[in-house]
Amino acid sequence: MVQLRPRASCTPAEADAMVDEGQPASEEVAEHGLLLGQPSSGAAAEPLEEDEEGDDESDDEAPEELTFASAQAEAREEERRVRETARRDKILLKEKRKRREELFIEQKKRKLLPDAVLEKLTTTSQTNIKKSPGKLKEVDLQKKHEGHDKGSDSKKAGTQKVQPGSQNKSYVALRLKDQDLRDARQQAAKAFIQNSLYGPGTNRMTVNKFLSLANKRLPVKRAAAQFLNNTWGAQKKQNAKRFKRRWMFRKMKASGRVNGS
């Protein structure tokens, strides 16, 4: 709706301006979240104060002239600025996304082997492709149904040995998944036995406490056991020993001189 100026003097120009200003004004209103008919603290506040001050001075001063053109120009400026910022933000985001995409492509490229090697690999493994699916199936089943001997055979085949073919250097590619599984199981087993016997929840006491309790239950009670760490402060002890020797030597010399002279 229309912002009402406090001055009741409505000139036709003002009325026009107000009508024309409907849209920009509504924009402003929408932007500032105004209630209908309530003057905001923004544009209307200052003139209000001024008017009040003005009221004190003179009642007859006319309000500021705000032509339609200027107001329109102002509004347009605002709009343009807002649009500019939005566009700039979008451009920035786009650039960022582009850069990230390129980075990913780079990394992917780095992960794969160089093209030349890949080509050679695909040409040489063409011949093995027909055989491998069957073996892979065996590898899957071997844990469940296959017998032990068959299992060991397929295990060996499952470690894909890549034939070097016409290459300078020869290498053998192995499946690390099997070794990882074995290590993982061993770790799990060790952790299980450690937790179940000595982990939290088991009611264990330290060796120190055990020996101290034994001392307390003897017919002749003794003090609690204490464990010493003989390696603590080894350097300090060595320095102290050296210092003591030097000090003794000095003392002997001094007393020798006193006695002798």
Binding site: S152, R185, A189, L197, V207
Partner: protein, 590 residues
């Protein structure tokens, strides 16, 4: 061979002995066939959800009970499928977040499955219906092991608190036929977890983390109530773990995975009898040899001159040459030791360090000639009888002419080293030999048996000596026969042929063959006050056995030269300080 199931938690052989069952980490139970030359995989049973921790066969071989985490499964062997799955309560009464681990199961022939678990319960299950029959709560901590007698009327369980319980099948009333399982006897002989128990016809045997092996005879099963029917607690192994090089005063200590070489300290001070003299030169840790791999060292030895060290594990044999330059030593390994020397049970060097004697676990004796940095296989004595019996003890005469070897049951065999031929055999005795020694000049073989009998056999004459016959006729003192620990080492004085030096874990003794033998009425252990008495009284009460209990527990004792004796003690507190933590127990007044 790899079972492809991950770490193996349990293994049990069928009652017939032809099949082997393995419980794995991934929850699978695998069946293997045992043939004469190898073990062959047969098939997998139904895979379970959690790791299989314990297995037991039914005596007929048709069913298996497998204990896992929170449940027990009963399998049918023919089909391989699980017939019953019995869920175990996590606590005797109430709920718990900690899972219940079934540490042991046993299958009885009437279909009862007995399970012991980490909640401290012993439970009886009926395998035909898969239901719980009876539950006993016996401990606040885990019950970790179970063993059943052959007649299936009693079983023994071991707990983590160190208590061993005996359960027996007794009739409900004195006339009735109905029987029930009752917990009869608790035994507290351990301080730490009891991880393994066994039930022999007359005794309960338990062993655990506190390194003691306890044999408790059951009074009602023992016929003769003599000293044999008492409790036995075995702390130290009955093997020689320390060898000594007399010439260079070196000691070689054998640990489970490494060897340590120490030079003894020396002193220039002098004092009276009973003084402790200060060391002028401290003991020196010269060398530490670690073995690679998970295997333990079975035996080791150092030559008397100190230039050779030999040790054997289950799969390899190591021979090292040591050279001493001023204050440093250098070590060199002799490569390519022959395969037949692997897993040797006993290694011995000859007195002049030119020959190496190795007793293998197949029963044969190998003689290797050592020279400047290489070796040569001289001869092998094959086992004579059909039964393959491992030679576990060796002794060589100081002049290098005779070699004595003893196995577990047959008599001691003596070989002549000059002709490389067997010489004679000492008559067999009921009890196994625990120590052998050959005296320097007289070539008398001294044999100590596990029932505390000591024999002396003359090798050149091929008969027992006069002194040995005399003491057998009179018999040993009753206190000597009641000693707990066996004699582990025999040594001799080079200048005094009448003296024999023996030691066991709690005493060492010099037997003076020239003095009269004690009878049952005399005092065996000489009291200290005797040294203050007059000469006459001492001569009257002196007898052949001079025993000192000053150093205990003794692990090793040897005469280095005419005036020096080395004794190695191993205090039990040191061992206890390195054990894993025990269960917390609340004691009154602490």
């Amino acid at each position: 061979m790899d079972a492809f199931g991950g770490p193996i938690w349990s293994m049990t052989a069928s009652p017939s002995g032809s099949q082997l069952l393995i419980g794995c980490e991934d929850g699978s139970v695998k069946l293997f066939q045992i043939t004469s030359d190898k073990i062959q995989f047969e098939r997998n049973f139904d895979r379970q959800k959690s790791r299989i921790l314990s297995l037991s066969w039914h005596p007929s071989g048709t069913h298996i009970a497998a204990g896992s985490i929170d449940y027990i499964s009963v399998f049918d062997v023919k089909s391989g499928s699980a017939t019953h799955k019995m869920i175990v309560d996590r606590r005797y009464m109430g709920v718990s977040k900690r899972k219940c681990i079934i540490w042991g199961v046993t299958f009885l022939s009437d279909g009862t499955v007995i399970s012991v678990d980490s909640a401290g319960k012993v439970q009886f299950w009926d395998s035909a219906t898969g239901t719980l029959v009876k539950s006993h709560l016996i401990a606040n901590a885990d019950v970790q092991s179970i063993a059943v007698s052959d007649q299936e009327d009693s079983f023994v369980v071991g707990t983590a608190e160190g208590t061993v319980f005996h359960f027996q099948l007794v009739s409900v009333t004195s006339n009735s036929n109905e029987k029930q399982w009752v917990r009869t006897k608790p035994f507290q002989h351990h301080t730490h977890d009891v991880r393994a128990v066994a039930h022999s016809p007359t005794a309960l045997i338990s062993g655990g983390t506190d390194t003691h092996l306890v044999i408790r005879p059951l009074m009602e099963k023992v016929e003769v109530k003599n000293y044999d029917a008492a409790l036995r607690k075995i702390t130290f192994p009955h093997r020689r773990l320390i060898s000594c090089s007399k010439k260079r005063h070196l000691l070689l200590f054998q640990f489970a995975h490494h060897l340590e070489l120490w030079r003894l300290g020396s002193t220039v001070a002098t004092g009276k009898n009973g003084d402790i003299l200060p060391l002028s030169k401290n003991a020196d840790h010269l060398l530490q040899l670690k073995t690679k791999g998970p295997e333990n060292i079975i035996c080791s030895s150092i030559s008397p001159c100190g230039s050779w060290i030999a040790c054997s594990t289950a799969s390899r044999f190591f021979l090292y040459r040591l050279s001493y330059e001023r204050d440093s030593i250098s070590l060199q390994r002799v490569p390519k030791m022959p395969a037949f020397l692997r897993s040797a049970l006993q290694i011995l060097f000859s007195e002049d360090s030119t020959k190496l004697f190795v007793a293998s676990n197949q029963g044969s004796l190998h003689i290797i000639q050592l020279s400047e940095g290489c070796f040569k296989h001289l001869h092998t004595f094959q086992p004579q009888s059909e039964t393959v019996e491992a030679m576990c003890l060796l002794a060589v005469s100081p002049d290098g002419n005779w070699l004595a070897a003893s196995g577990t049951s047959a008599g001691v065999r003596i070989y002549g080293l000059k002709e490389l031929k067997p010489h004679c055999t000492v008559p067999a005795y009921n009890f196994p030999v625990t120590a052998l020694g050959i005296a320097p000049n007289t070539n008398n073989l001294v044999i100590a048996h596990s029932d505390q009998q000591v024999f002396e056999y003359s090798i050149p004459d091929k008969q027992y000596t006069e002194w040995s016959r005399a003491i057998q006729k009179q018999g040993f003192h009753h206190l000597w026969l009641q000693r707990d620990t066996p004699i582990t080492h025999i040594s001799f004085h080079p200048k005094r042929p009448m003296h024999i030096l023996l030691h066991d874990a709690y005493m060492f003794c010099i037997i003076d063959k020239s003095l009269p033998l004690p009878n049952d009425k005399t005092l065996l252990y000489n009291p200290l006050s005797l040294t203050n008495e007059s000469d006459v009284i001492r001569r009257r009460t002196a007898h052949a056995f001079k025993i000192s209990k000053k150093y205990k527990p003794l692990l090793f004792m040897e005469l280095l030269d005419e005036r020096t004796l080395v004794a190695v003690e191993r205090p039990l507190d040191d061992i206890i300080a390195q054990l894993p933590p025990p269960i917390k127990k609340k004691k009154f007044g602490t």
